[in-house]
Symmetry: C2
Subunit: 286 residues, 2 copies
């Protein structure tokens, strides 16, 4: 047993999956859930993802020696400010957010000095969201990135690492700002590109022909990407603003480069790009 009580704030896909595996493998003594609405918490409880739940934040975390932030990232700062005064001496607060960087510093300062923050990010997801999509095997074989800073308590870091290793995740460490740049390009940019494509289909110039009825495989893969939780992605885009803008600009630059090759009818130039894409494909799917 790594922690006596783990309180999960936001019992959705990730929070629920963590609860399921933690209870299944007895990684913690007790799993408490917090949420704003009773419905999803009742579902989480009947699925076996939590032992009990509270609708009052201070009650939910009062006995916790581990608090896991698993709401959309935009709420993390406010939650840390609210729970701070009620946290046990030595409580560890961690998160599962897709944005780190400046947010980690911000959460570190939002917590009182008797609690320890450890930033973390399980790289796992499904096109479905919500606790009904949760599964104990979600983290198995997937990466989990810890983002310690100079302020991170080493004992808290080790305990959080142990918890995630036991879920089956491959745990590694990264600088919080490096994390945001890497995830910005392999995860946030792909989602932005998919949402932009969907939005292009709604442009009046395009939509008047109702093109979607002629779609095949390619578009279906995009709609899958664009099918994830809207609240989650809104917060990720805004919180990871700086890294996002940088990769969006690179993406626009690349599109412009390809467009010029199309205009010039530069076949070999296009082939070169397609071959490089296949190389990435080999790397990404291995």
């Amino acid at each position: 047993m790594i922690f006596k009580q783990m309180t999960i704030i936001g019992v959705g896909l990730i929070g629920g999956s963590l609860g399921l595996i933690a209870k299944q493998k007895k990684l913690v003594g007790k799993v408490v859930g917090y949420g704003r609405r009773r419905g999803p918490l009742q579902k989480a409880s009947s699925l076996g993802a939590i032992d009990c739940y509270f609708l009052t934040l201070s009650k939910a975390i009062r006995e916790a020696d581990l608090v896991v932030l698993a709401t959309p990232v935009g709420l993390f700062e406010q939650i840390c400010q609210l729970i701070g005064p009620f946290l046990k001496e030595g409580a560890v607060v961690t998160d599962v957010g897709s944005v780190k960087g400046g947010l980690v510093e911000c959460l570190e300062s939002a917590l009182p000095s008797h609690a320890f923050f450890v930033g973390g990010h399980p790289i796992a997801g499904r096109e479905k969201s919500g606790v009904m999509a949760a599964t104990a095997s979600l983290f198995q074989g997937n990466r989990f990135i810890l983002t310690p800073t100079s302020k991170t308590n080493q004992s808290a870091l080790k305990k959080v690492a142990t918890l995630w290793k036991k879920t089956g995740a491959r745990v590694s460490e990264m600088d919080p700002f490096d994390h945001d740049q890497v995830l910005g390009v392999v995860s946030h940019l792909p989602h932005l590109a998919a949402y932009a494509l969907m939005e292009t289909l709604t442009h009046p110039k395009v939509a008047k022909r109702d093109p979607v009825q002629y779609s095949a495989g390619g578009l279906r893969d995009y709609t899958r990407i664009a099918g994830s939780s809207a609240d989650m992605w809104r917060d990720i885009f805004i919180q990871n603003r700086e890294a996002m803008i940088e990769v969006i600009d690179l993406y626009q630059e690349t599109i412009e480069k390809i467009k010029k090759k199309i205009i010039r009818g530069d076949g070999p130039g296009l082939t070169e790009i397609f071959e490089r894409a296949k190389e990435i494909r080999r790397k990404a799917t291995r």
Copy 2:
């Protein structure tokens, strides 16, 4: 039996699948294959996609009353010029290319007056290419678009339509230029967006961190899209230049719009876009 002899020029995924279903359902008397290399034709023959093959174009089409162009679209014009003098009186030439528009006019003029051109496009594909990926069920339930012009011979059009209906495809007609705009947005643009994303990952600023090892579901969907035949897409991008440029510009405009919302931290504005994307998802997957 709709045609006595069908000659397929380019026996890959689409050509091979057409051969398989045509032989299985006895839609034509004989299926002849043409290609530049013996290897793939031997495979096509052993898979039952063709009855026999030739490595000489004039020999392959001499007895054909239907010729199907199934190479990358960039070769269509040259092939029509080469086969013209050897075509039987009343032979029908059709294609399976993803680009129509001006190309249809061009192929109509490239053929002699004793042969009839009918433009067609089966909206079917797989991430795999080549005859080994061919399957008799490839067209089942998928759309097939005929793109007749004022010059199209009505009897030839009907016979080609009948052939494709018998493959299980849902056959409809569209103006060749409308076709290019519609496919430009639902198929060609998604592929361009995926190739541009892959190419962005190779940018020195990004590649130095080897981000691909941290990729999850989102990127995998893109690599699938970017996994199709490079030669085919090179030709499509260049041949559908005009419609492509138009939708690329709309796409870039949309990315810029989303970027501005991110910069401003406009959460409700982003949510609106995500909700519209879900609407498209519902339409595309129904």
